[in-house]
Symmetry: C3
Subunit: 426 residues, 3 copies
Amino acid sequence: MRFKFSLMAIGLEVVMIVLFGLFVEYDIAHQVNATRSPKTDQFLQLYPLFQDVHVMIFVGFGFLMTFLKKYGFSGVGFNLFLAALGLQWGTIVQGLLHDKGQNFHIGIKNMINADFSTATVLISFGAVLGKTSPIQMLVMTILEIAVFAGNEHLVTNIFQASDTGASMTIHAFGAYFGLAVAGILYRPGLRWEHKNEESVYHSDLFAMIGTLFLWIFWPSFNSAIAEPEEKQYRAVINTYLSLVASVIMAYALSSLVERRGRLDMVHIQNATLAGGVAVGTCADMEIPLYAAMGIGSIAGIISVLGYKFLSPLLGNKLMIKDTCGVHNLHGLPGVFGGLASILAIYFGMSAGSSSMAMQAAALGSSIGSAIVGGLATGLILKLPIWDQPPDENCYDDSLYWKVPKVRELDPQFFQHAHHNHLEHEV
Amino acid sequence: MRFKFSLMAIGLEVVMIVLFGLFVEYDIAHQVNATRSPKTDQFLQLYPLFQDVHVMIFVGFGFLMTFLKKYGFSGVGFNLFLAALGLQWGTIVQGLLHDKGQNFHIGIKNMINADFSTATVLISFGAVLGKTSPIQMLVMTILEIAVFAGNEHLVTNIFQASDTGASMTIHAFGAYFGLAVAGILYRPGLRWEHKNEESVYHSDLFAMIGTLFLWIFWPSFNSAIAEPEEKQYRAVINTYLSLVASVIMAYALSSLVERRGRLDMVHIQNATLAGGVAVGTCADMEIPLYAAMGIGSIAGIISVLGYKFLSPLLGNKLMIKDTCGVHNLHGLPGVFGGLASILAIYFGMSAGSSSMAMQAAALGSSIGSAIVGGLATGLILKLPIWDQPPDENCYDDSLYWKVPKVRELDPQFFQHAHHNHLEHEV
Amino acid sequence: MRFKFSLMAIGLEVVMIVLFGLFVEYDIAHQVNATRSPKTDQFLQLYPLFQDVHVMIFVGFGFLMTFLKKYGFSGVGFNLFLAALGLQWGTIVQGLLHDKGQNFHIGIKNMINADFSTATVLISFGAVLGKTSPIQMLVMTILEIAVFAGNEHLVTNIFQASDTGASMTIHAFGAYFGLAVAGILYRPGLRWEHKNEESVYHSDLFAMIGTLFLWIFWPSFNSAIAEPEEKQYRAVINTYLSLVASVIMAYALSSLVERRGRLDMVHIQNATLAGGVAVGTCADMEIPLYAAMGIGSIAGIISVLGYKFLSPLLGNKLMIKDTCGVHNLHGLPGVFGGLASILAIYFGMSAGSSSMAMQAAALGSSIGSAIVGGLATGLILKLPIWDQPPDENCYDDSLYWKVPKVRELDPQFFQHAHHNHLEHEV
């Protein structure tokens, strides 16, 4: 991948710099006489929320994807690369769309929205984890963020639908986009369990770092772009309560569906977060607290059931291998979140102007654009020019990374260790 | 544990949802004409502190308990489950007690206090880590938070004692509650060192993630519910200085008490935090800076000495096995913190109305209610209906978790690896 | 190291307590009638930024230094010890220098500046990692912070140069100080690759925890002491953009310089951060956004090239072994950041009063004082009284730490494991 990847990355960075030079400026009002401008005031207030979201993107998503025994470097490493690229491209695309192609200003809101646009890519990344090259991921980042920004514009500005925590526009979108790509890139050689597609004890603990930081800061994610004051406040509390409920239900169901009642780390790492996904659309609505907890409970349940019963079906019947199970963490709970918002509006709980029809349109448009965009992206990624890894090298860092001479799980590890051992004894 | 645990968890979550439906509402003043209400203002100011405390509860306590070589999934995983349950139950119990059984509002202060109530459970969890079933822990969570809320109500509202950073009401309480439970659940089969009761190299590094996030955010813990402005400010600085002093002393003592002067990870993971515990009660008092540093220094010293000399004594003579040594991190420094506050008031350093007698009453009531509550809870947990793990399966995830086929420290790991090795060579 | 280290640490802590008692007070204005003082207002606004920087110091630097297979306890453990010591000493030295030896007040700004002074020590620590005793590190901490505070005073107050994000006064200073120490402490026995001087798979993942938290919070580091409002805002955005650009370039170059195009974890762990270092001096200047991205891009490039081509040269020709490659992460990008600020002022982009000559003087003084101070410190550390580890025990925790009986990479690990294995089969 030496020259192709490097030159594409350098080229893209140069393009980004040029685009920033052409279109983007600081969002600062030069107010010499004012001691404090509203802009900078807002900046300081939102900055801690931005940093929470930032931790989710880089540490949360990054470590969540280190669960595979030999793909941890790629999980956390490509996550960093894709996010850094996505942040720049998302800023440009969202800014140009929002301001109709004119110069625009970058402020704390753009930075949060850029993190959001990146989140869709990282969700889709989870669906194809281990089976794609960095170049394929780079291309997917560029294409997916463009489609995402288009759909978000449609949902927010045309439909004027409500989706504060982005259950539909980020989570369902990212999941179905990724699944569509995974479906197109399906390879018979990966149908049955791959020898590398498993975790080891410590890789599962690394993944818990990701889970916990995602879980803790999810209220910031769902409230970061909510209207200030009451709605933002409400979004925090609803998300917090939905999350705690989904933890309890994820544990209960994980134990329930296993023959001997043992918990499954895959469920704990993922389904505990489903409450954050599902409550997103309703987060700032005037739903009662027990409804937020109910949404979280149901999300935890459907997420575990998805992992247990739906993922094997998808993989074996529909030929869609979903490495991280993003359908169960982002897809199903995201759709459920959209449906919940329709119900909430039916019961008069919306504080805004969004209607049931527009929420339904937003949900349909998010899923539809994700599938169409994902299929098209998948076809492009299937071109034999992007260095897709061969079947036997999937889920293995050593194709793309210099791996330490000693890797705890390699045969070489034991050779080396025995060697040392002998040296030591002699 | 299949049905018993699952059904209890589901049942409890349903109860929580019903209780929230009956008693809890948003803490939002509908002020249409005001651009900013004091409530939401406070929300935004305290939200970063809340998130700091939240990181301590989930990442801090969670990873601190991953130090055992085969009990990492349970350490971080049950911590998440218990905390999610405790947050809900703590909100209800504290709210009902505070508002005398009437409907109450949930706001950022309740959320911080719920984290606090949960902290007591997680401290006690450390004392019985590895020797109890998830069902036992679940029962303990419900009982302990009820007792905690009662004692806290007594200390704060009846005695009107001062305990901002909760050295007495959280740390000493949680430790002695846990020790009382551990004493009742004592089993001769676990008296001598269990083959699983040890760390490996990487499990000790995982535990350091917990230590560091606890250490960094402890000033937020001790100041989160302090009176705004000066007292909050003071609580941050006193805690910060006590913590740095306890780090230096923990390192010095750890090296001093070992024959060859080597540091012990158990001390570093725990005694470095003792300064945060001990300065809690005095944190917002008008003590001089050198006093805060002195408190931290002494706390670091007694914590290491406790690990070295007292824990073996407790385990072998008093039949109280304290897995994480919570007595040394939370018990002794918590009691010392309470005593320090009496001294501070004697020297006229209290800014509030608390008296020496009331501080002493608070300390006595915290320890007393903890021991009585812990003994009663222990007796309930001793009933043979909670699936307590047999001696040989203690400190081992594989009873409650699906553990990866390959676990770095299992015999199977080597079989598997050798198998691969042979395949590779042929 | 039993008594020497312990007694020095205890003695130093006593000295710190006395110095705090003599010179330091709270920075609180007792304003009984005012509902909110400007001081406490600033405290609450800067506290989240302070905590971000705190996470960088303890988790960021700490885990970044766990990449060596057998030196993780020391990496993260000595980092904690040195930082806790440095915070106290930095507060004293900076306060006395700033207030000309009089009593001074400790507030949030001092706490941030103390973290900064500590950062220089942790950078230098990276250069000598694995080759020095805790006592040597302790002595270096005391000496380096004194020299740092002197140079910072010169740069800020005498030259009145601009260095908000401290590319020169922290990063270049810390790197060249450490390199000078490493040069003096050079030992022929460590010239060629040491058997312990390598990473294993999981140690590289632990190091990524450090990298990511440094990366995420770098905008807070560069803006924490910027002038409030516009300049602080600008410092955040410039740093953010420089960082994303340096990530892309670090990945591109890392792949480009390897024969087979594979990424190198050393580059990803470090060069992705070079953008944060390099943009520091210019962070609050009125540079255009594309310039910030350009600075980050160039920093990423020179950092990877430094690791690939310069470090081997330094090690083999100049007899300077730089364990973590701090020259490539902090040295080169720091110097480049200083030069960039001169260019920025040439183009009239400075908002302040700093001149090109004064920036150049600041750069020269930072490097010069670092080298002179580092050489002198190195000579002191070379005295045979500080228990420097023998060659064969370098990069190995077991000299200073009680290491678990079972360490995944020890020969004993395999003996133990095989033993278990046999027991299991019989």
